[in-house]
């Protein structure tokens, strides 16, 4: 039996959040954490609330904090997350909890919106597509794969303390994705909006984001590239 400690909070009935313990029969299988949550919801307590959708690490819905580390529950096996026979599951840190493991991601999306995550090019669009060389296209590798699960930004202390002003690793990865795009012409405008003491420079390079990214991306490296672009622009 696996001992699971689950963060519970229903603002309509609970005065404060609390941890609820469950014993889950996993049949000695190396299940994913999401499977364990499904077992709890199906067999032990149907009121347990969490987000999930694709259950294969594509949609980014089930970002959770499992034994202290953020990740996607659907692709995190118990063999990676369980410590000392126990699994503690909490919502992503730093964001307001709506209920149980569901957080309000408005601040996260507001920062994403701030970096204007879409191609900007006022020149008339060609009949078929804007072409890139293979080398130009390769610049986007490691950037476009982000699924916006928020595991990175919610593991970043700078985002915890200033979620309204620091763009956060997820937003900055997308900011660089468009700064690095040869088809985008808004580079100057994008950089001008990032040159304040908070948006980019609250990153102190501790690399929590790199440590937890379920897609193996490196936001710290992208932030370094943005800093270099800002420096080149100013000198």
């Amino acid at each position: 039996m696996l001992q699971v400690s689950l963060y519970r909070y229903n603002p309509e009935t609970d005065q404060a959040p609390y941890m609820q313990d469950f014993s889950v029969d996993t049949g000695d299988r190396d299940l994913m954490v999401l499977d364990v949550l499904e077992l709890i919801k199906a067999d032990l307590d149907g009121s347990v609330t969490y987000r999930r959708s694709c259950r294969e690490g594509v949609c980014g819905s089930d970002g959770l904090n499992m034994n202290g580390k953020n990740g996607l529950a659907c692709i995190t096996p118990l063999s990676e997350s369980v410590k000392g026979g126990k699994l503690v599951i909490r919502p992503l840190p730093g964001l307001p909890v709506i209920r149980d493991l569901v957080v309000d991601m408005s601040l996260f999306y507001a920062q994403y919106e701030k970096v204007q995550p879409y191609l900007q090019n006022p020149t008339p669009a060609p009949a078929i597509e804007r072409l890139q060389s293979p080398e130009e296209r390769a610049q986007l590798d490691g950037l476009y794969e982000c699924i916006l699960c928020a595991c990175c930004s919610t593991s970043c202390p700078s985002f915890w303390w200033n979620p309204d002003r620091f763009v956060g690793p997820a937003g900055l990865l997308q900011a660089y994705r468009f700064l690095a795009d040869s088809r985008d012409t808004a580079t100057e405008d994008r950089l001008a909006k990032l040159d304040d003491p908070f948006s980019v420079f609250r990153c102190h390079g501790i690399q929590n984001c790199v440590n937890v990214c379920p897609k193996g991306l490196n936001p710290t490296k992208a932030i370094g590239h943005i800093r270099t672009m800002l420096l080149n622009r100013a000198t």
Binding site: P157, S158, W161, N162, R165, L194, D195, D196, P197, F198, S199, V200, F201, R202, H204, R227, L230, L231, A234
Partner: protein, 119 residues
């Protein structure tokens, strides 16, 4: 609301660059001091070292670098932890009070260094 008005240079890039340049000045200064400490350390040698104009200028540069470096670092810490978000409605007042205290201390240290070195 946390704003940038009390930051050292108002822009993130300048603060970031100043912090790195000042760290290099401090590194060079501490290497010189460490080199001196490895040799003979007595009043005469110490006095001879600090009587030289280049050392006085270097020490002043190091003191100014330390003040700028510290202010940028402390400003980051203050605007992380001493905010309305963290401390409630009094957060901004507490932060400004701490910033005032830190800036007075840093200016005081620089003046103190000038008095010691150039008097």
């Amino acid at each position: 609301m946390v704003t940038s008005v009390t930051s050292f240079s108002r822009t993130g890039l300048s603060d970031w660059l100043i912090q790195r340049v000042t760290s290099l000045v401090l590194l060079a200064y501490f290497i010189v001091i460490a080199y001196q400490l490895l040799g003979s350390v007595d009043y005469t040698s110490w006095r001879l070292l600090f009587d030289q104009t280049w050392m006085k200028v270097f020490t002043l540069m190091a003191a100014l670098s330390l003040a700028a470096h510290s202010w940028i670092g402390l400003w980051s810490v203050f605007t992380d932890y001493l905010t309305e978000r963290m401390l409630g409605p009094k957060g901004n007042v507490i932060r400004l009070f701490c910033q005032l205290g830190a800036s007075l201390a840093l200016v005081g240290y620089v003046i103190w260094v000038i008095v010691i070195i150039w008097s």
